[in-house]
């Protein structure tokens, strides 16, 4: 069970549909692991229901109901198979354990392209259809430490496999961390296994450690 959660304000904005696309993906992936945040979002959805019920009614065109009925009849006559475009994606064995929302980000080939960042860290960029955030897998080698870095923008991290720790704690599968600009940390994977994380970064990361100066920020990691 996850021990580190998004703040309620973030869950509220998510439920209201206000969070950025990439941030929303990360929140959704956390929800996969976290019944208590799911419960919280269900409650915030109910605030949305309340707001809808209280909205000022605005007339729709007179023929709207007829158009909708026509669409429905056409559709049911078409006897379309339910969601034809949404056939279950081919199983990608290496990623089977991941939340469905993350599995859908993995190319049909079932492979992501890993790039070397540091001896302890590999990164693979994921295409999410937005460019405000860089969305990557980060794989920290077991026992490996990522150079200390701080953030020009927000950085969200969700642990997907394994565990890592930093100055503030140890994070396991499902744990959700948000670092604000200016906060630094130095993640270290546990010794028993590699640690796979989803990383969502708002702006380029600056490496601040001694070694950091010669290393490209994660954000410069591009497939190819």
């Amino acid at each position: 069970m996850a021990r580190y959660h998004p703040e309620d304000e973030l869950l509220l904005e998510y439920a209201a549909g206000r969070t950025d696309w990439a941030v929303s993906i990360c929140v959704a992936a956390h929800l996969h692991f976290c019944p208590s945040c799911r419960e919280q979002v269900a409650k915030f959805n109910r605030i949305g229901g309340h707001c809808l019920e209280q909205a000022d009614k605005v007339d729709v065109p007179e023929d709207a109901l007829n158009s909708v009925m026509a669409m429905i009849r056409t559709e049911s006559r078409g006897e379309k198979a339910p969601n034809p475009t949404k056939a279950a994606p081919a199983v990608k064995p290496a990623f089977q354990q991941l939340p469905p929302v993350i599995q859908k980000l993995i190319p049909d080939s079932g492979k992501v392209r890993w790039s070397f960042v540091t001896p302890a860290l590999k990164a693979a960029r994921l295409e999410t259809g937005q460019d405000k955030y860089e969305v990557c897998f980060h794989r920290i080698k077991k026992g490996g430490t990522v150079a200390e870095h701080d953030h020009n923008g927000r950085e969200l991290t969700l642990v997907l496999q394994g565990r890592f720790s930093d100055e503030n704690g140890t994070y396991s599968v499902g744990d959700f961390l948000m670092k604000q600009p200016g906060e630094t940390h130095r993640p270290t994977a546990t010794l028993d296994q590699d640690c796979l994380c989803l990383s969502v970064q708002e702006a380029p990361v600056k490496l601040t450690g001694l070694v950091g100066r010669v290393i490209n920020p994660f954000l410069r990691v591009r497939p190819g």
Binding site: D8, E9, L12, E13, Y14, A16, G17, R18, W21, S24, I25, A28, L31, H32, P35, R38, E39, Q40, V41, A42, K43, N45, R46, I47, G48, G49, H50, C51, L52, E53, Q54, A55, D56, K57, V58, D59, V60, P61, A64, L65, S67, V68, M69, M71, I72, E75, P99, P100, V101, K104, L105, E127, T128, G129, Q130, D131
Partner: protein, 200 residues
């Protein structure tokens, strides 16, 4: 935001909702009745349109287009509606929210074209979307309505603006001419009341 008079002395203890719209939607789910659908349409279509217009980002014409899309989905997905898990208004809210997100993404840029995801993959819609298996509901819609109506005005206002006007916390701070911290703490206070009520 109007508060129903006398709402505070309602004690919601039954698991079955008395909300007639939820009952109607449940009937639609089992019977697929066009007459039932027409009643739901006349109630919810103007609400969804009003909700969209206060949300911003949509012209009245695009709001009309989206309202129709939402109502088609209401019909199509009705079988997944369970009145024990959700009220009609919350269920339709989630569909309306998701439709708006997809619409804005589709029209704003070429972003959606390169995405393998749709809003439904990210935001659970209704109650039928795995992996979002709902736990036993600890608060029903009426409890939420009552709790919200009992919040201090300033907290309620901040909460609602996030939904109704699409304000981020930072937008709100600017609009209300308050420090961001104050807005956040109002929202936080409002939320903590809702949260503590869950364990009643």
């Amino acid at each position: 935001m109007a508060i129903a008079p006398g709402s505070t002395n309602i004690v919601a203890s039954t698991t079955m909702r008395e909300d007639e719209w939820s009952q109607l939607l449940a009937r639609l789910a089992t019977a697929g009745d066009e007459g039932v659908f027409a009643r739901l349409f006349r109630h919810f279509a103007p609400l969804v349109k009003g909700f969209y217009l206060s949300n911003g980002g949509l012209t009245p014409e695009s709001a009309d287009e989206l309202v129709q899309e939402v109502m088609v989905k209401v019909w199509r997905k009705a079988a997944g509606f369970d009145p024990r898990k959700s009220s009609a208004s919350t269920w339709i809210f989630t569909i309306a929210r998701n439709s708006r997100i997809d619409y804005l993404r589709k029209h704003a840029s070429n972003e959606a074209a390169t995405s393998t995801l749709e809003s439904e993959d990210i935001w659970s819609e209704g109650t039928d979307n795995p992996p979002f298996v709902y736990l036993q509901q600890s608060l029903d819609q009426r409890d939420i309505d009552i709790l919200l109506s009992e919040l201090p005005q300033e907290q309620r206002e901040c909460l609602f603006k996030v939904y109704l006007e699409g304000k981020s916390h930072a937008d709100l701070a600017e609009e209300l001419n308050l420090p961001l911290g104050t807005v956040k703490s109002r929202i936080r206070l409002g939320l903590s009341r809702l949260k503590s009520a869950v364990n009643l």
